[in-house]
Amino acid sequence: MDNIAGTKSSLTWAVHLATLALVLLWLFPTLGLFISSFRTVDQINTSGWWASMSASEQSEVLRADSPDENRVADGDMYIVNGNLFEAGSEKVISTWGTSSRDISAYQAGETADMGEGETMTVAENGDYIWRGTEDQISGRGQRVFVTAKAPPEFTLANYEQVLLSGDSTDSMAKAFFNTLTVTIPATIIPIVVAAFAAYALAWMDFPGRALLIAMVVGLLVVPLQLALIPLLRLHLGIGIGKGYLGVWLAHTAFGLPLAIYLLRNYMVGLPRDIIENARVDGATEFQIFTKIILPLSFPALASFAIFQFLWTWNDLLVAKVFLIDASGDTTVMTNQIVELLGTRGGNWEILATAAFVSIAVPLVVFFAMQKYLVRGMLAGSVK
C-alpha cells in the first residue's frame, strides 16, 4: 500500500531513525538505573553510568607500607618496596605526587626527589621504591597522591547489601515479602467478587441494571483521595486498625469498578446461543456462570489480574494510609524506597539497587503478559 504513490525511501529511513531515537530516549532512564545498580561505590562517584564501559579516572590518596616493618637496608640507606594498590587491582597510574598541593607532579615511572637524598619511584602498575636514610624511612608510610585509570568494574555487592545483609535501613527483603503479602490477596479477591456482579450486569435482566452500570462507570473515576479519611476512621472505629486486612479490603474495593466494567464488557460479547442453550438444557445460573462464563472469560480475567497486580504492587498511597503503622514492620517496597531517598539520598548504589529490586517483578510480569495488558487497556478505556 505504501508504494502506491511511490513513497520515497528516504522517508522510510527517517521513520526507522526516528523510532530508534524515541525507543532509546525511553529506554535510557531505566538503563541508567539498571547499570548503576551493578557498579561499585567508587565507580558511581567518579563517573556517570553512561561511561561505565570505559575506564574511569580516579584520584586517590594511598600510603606506602609502614617502614618499621618493611624497610630493608641497602648500604647505608634504607628501601621500602611494594605496591600501592590492593592485590589484583588493574588500575593504571598516569600521574602522581607526594604533596596535596601538586597531586600530579610526576608521570608514572618517574623518580621524585623529595630532598636530602630521599627519593621515590612509582611505576604504572603501582609498584614503588621508596629510598632514604634511616631517619627518613621511618614512622608512617609515605603518602602518595595518584591519578589512576580504573577499568570498568561491576559487582553484585549492592544486591547483597540490599537483599541479604539484613541491615534494617537498607534491607528490601522484608519489604519485598510485605509487598507480596499485600498484592496477592488484593489481586485475587476482587476478581471473584467482580465476576459474579459482572455476570449479573451482563446477562440477567432486572430493573435498575442500566443505572447500576452507569454507577460503576461513574465510580471508575472517583479519586481515591476521597476515600482515605472516612475509611481510615471506619477501620479504626470497627477495630481493623492499620494492617493487612485493612489494605486488602481497601484494594479490593478500589479495584472493583474497573474489574466489573472490564468483565461485564467482555461477558456481554460472549455468544448468546451458548447461554440460551445451557438454560434450555436446565443448567442453573450458578452452573452457567462457573462452567461456561468463567472459563470463556479467561482473557478478561487475566487482563484485570495484571492491572490489579501492577497497581497494588506499585501503590504507595493506600499502603501508607491503611497499612504502615508507627512500628514500620509492615513497610512495603515503595515506602521503603521513599525512606531511603531521605536517609540514603546520596548513596546511589543502594538507591538504584533498591529501586531495581522493586521494579523487577512488575517488569517480568509486564513482558510475560503484555498481550493481556494491552487487551485490558483497550477494553478498559471508556469509549
Binding site: 523510532t19 532512564p29 553512561w50 471473584v192 459474579f196 474495593a253 521513599v338
Partner: protein, 410 residues
C-alpha cells in the same frame, strides 16, 4: 501469625467465602424459598429469577457502597466539620481557611499546569510513537519498549529520574545525565541554538498547534447551522479559553527565553528551580503515560479503513497530509478518550511529587497538599475540603463518561 500465612488464609476465606456464599445462597433460593416444584412451580421460578441478580451483585454492592459511595458523602460532611471541636459543624470555615493559604493556590496552579502539559505531551508522543511504529517490522519490539514504563511504579520512576537530575559540586564528575549535558554548554553559538533558538521553535510550534485546535473549536461558532448542544458549546468555550491562555503563555515564554541569562558552567539543582521544576516532575509522568497513549492510539490507527488512506494517496496527498487530515480526524474520539484518561491520572498525582520534592520549592499539587494536611497537620477538615476540590475537578469527566456509556448501551 506470620503475614504470609495470614495472607494465605485471607485468600482462602475471601475466595472460598465468596464462592460458598454464591453457591449456598443460590441453593437456598432455588430449593428452600422458591422451590421449582409443587403447584406454584412456574411462579416460583420467576420469583427466584427476579431475586437472583441481587444475590450475584450483593458482595460487590456492599464493597462499592461502603468503600466508594459512603466516603464521598462522608468526606463532604467532614469537610464541613472541625476536628478540634470534636467534629462540630463549622460551615465553610475549612474552605475559607484553605482558600487563604498560598500553598493551596500554588497546588491549584501546579495542578492546572500538569493538567494541560501532561495529557497533551503524552498524547502527542503516543500518537507519534503509534504512527512511527505502525508500518515497520520491528514496530512490536519498539512499542513494548516504549510501553515498558507503564509497569514501573511512580516511586521507582522517581528514583530513576532523580538519578538523571542529580547534581554534584562543579569540581566533581557529574553523575546525573542532565548536568553532564548542561556542562557541555559554554554560552557560545552552539548553546545559543540549542538552548534559545530550539526551545523557541518548539514553543512556537506548540503555540501554533494549540491555536489550530482553538480554531477547530471556534469553527461551529463562525459557521452557520451548527447542530451542537448547549453543553457542547460550553465545553468548547472552556477549551477556547484554555487554548488562548496557552498560546499567550507560550509566546511570553519565547520572549523570556531570549532575555534570560543562563548560568553556564554551574551544575544545577534542577528540582529546586521554582516553576521549571514542575516540568522536571511532569517529564516523569509523561514518560510513563506515553506508552498507554501509544497502545490505545495504535489500535485506533489500525482500525482506520484502508480505503480512506488509499483514496487520499491516489489524490496526491503527501504522508503528512494523510496523517493530519485523514487519519487524525478519524481517531479523534480515541484521542479524547486517551486525553481524559490521562487527565484523571494527573488530577490524582501524588507519588511522584511526594517522592521527588514533597511539594517543596513550589511544586505542591492538590493530592500531596491533602496528604500533608491529613497526616502531618492532622487536619481532617481542610484535608477533606481539598479532597472535595479534587472530586469537583474530576466530576466533569465523570459526567461525560457516564453520559457516553449510557449512550453506547442504548
Amino acid at each position: 501469625m506470620s503475614p504470609a500465612l495470614q495472607g494465605l488464609i485471607t485468600i482462602l476465606i475471601g475466595v472460598g467465602g465468596c464462592l460458598g456464599y454464591f453457591y449456598f445462597s443460590n441453593q437456598l433460593l432455588d430449593k428452600v424459598i422458591f422451590p421449582a416444584k409443587g403447584p406454584k412451580a412456574g411462579h416460583n421460578i420467576n420469583r427466584a429469577n427476579q431475586v437472583r441478580p441481587w444475590l450475584f451483585l450483593l458482595p460487590a454492592m456492599v464493597f462499592l457502597s461502603l468503600y466508594l459511595l459512603y466516603p464521598v458523602v462522608e468526606t463532604l460532611r467532614l469537610s464541613l466539620t472541625d476536628r478540634d471541636q470534636d467534629g462540630g459543624f463549622v460551615g465553610l470555615a475549612n474552605y475559607q481557611q484553605m482558600f487563604g493559604e498560598t500553598k493551596f493556590w500554588e497546588a491549584m496552579r501546579n495542578n492546572m499546569l500538569w493538567l494541560f502539559v501532561v495529557p497533551a505531551a503524552s498524547t502527542a508522543f503516543g500518537l507519534l510513537a503509534a504512527q512511527l511504529t505502525d508500518r515497520i517490522k520491528w514496530g512490536a519490539i519498539a512499542k513494548s519498549l516504549i510501553f515498558m514504563p507503564m509497569a514501573i511504579s511512580f516511586v521507582g520512576a522517581s528514583v530513576i529520574f532523580r538519578l538523571i537530575y542529580v547534581a554534584r559540586p562543579a569540581d566533581q564528575a557529574q553523575i546525573g545525565v542532565l548536568n553532564a549535558l548542561w556542562l557541555q554548554f559554554d554560552g557560545g553559538v552552539g548553546s545559543f541554538f540549542a538552548l534559545k533558538v530550539l526551545p523557541a521553535i518548539i514553543l512556537l510550534s506548540f503555540a501554533a498547534m494549540v491555536a489550530y485546535v482553538g480554531y477547530i473549536l471556534l469553527k461551529p461558532f463562525l459557521g452557520q447551522g451548527s447542530s451542537y448542544s448547549r453543553f457542547g458549546s460550553v465545553l468548547r468555550m472552556v477549551g477556547l479559553a484554555g487554548a488562548a491562555y496557552l498560546v499567550v503563555t507560550s509566546l511570553w515564554q519565547v520572549v523570556e527565553i531570549f532575555s534570560m541569562q543562563l548560568p553556564y558552567g554551574e551544575p544545577q539543582q534542577w528540582l529546586t528551580i521554582p516553576f521549571y521544576n514542575n516540568f522536571f516532575l511532569m517529564i516523569v509522568l509523561i514518560w510513563i503515560q506515553t506508552g498507554f497513549a501509544m497502545v490505545i492510539l495504535s489500535a485506533a490507527l489500525r482500525g482506520i479503513p484502508e480505503e480512506t488512506v488509499e483514496a487520499a494517496i491516489v489524490d496526491g496527498a503527501n504522508p503528512f497530509e494523510v496523517f493530519f487530515q485523514i487519519k487524525v480526524p478519524q481517531i479523534m474520539g480515541t484521542i479524547v478518550v486517551v486525553w481524559t484518561t490521562i487527565t484523571l491520572v494527573v488530577l490524582k498525582i501524588f507519588d511522584i511529587v511526594f517522592a521527588m520534592t514533597n511539594g517543596q520549592w513550589e511544586t505542591q499539587v492538590l493530592a500531596n497538599y491533602m496528604f500533608d494536611k491529613l497526616f502531618r497537620a492532622n487536619d481532617w477538615g481542610v484535608g477533606s475540603a481539598s479532597a472535595i476540590v479534587i472530586m469537583l475537578l474530576v466530576s466533569p469527566i465523570l459526567v461525560w463518561n457516564v453520559y457516553n456509556a449510557r449512550k453506547e448501551m442504548r
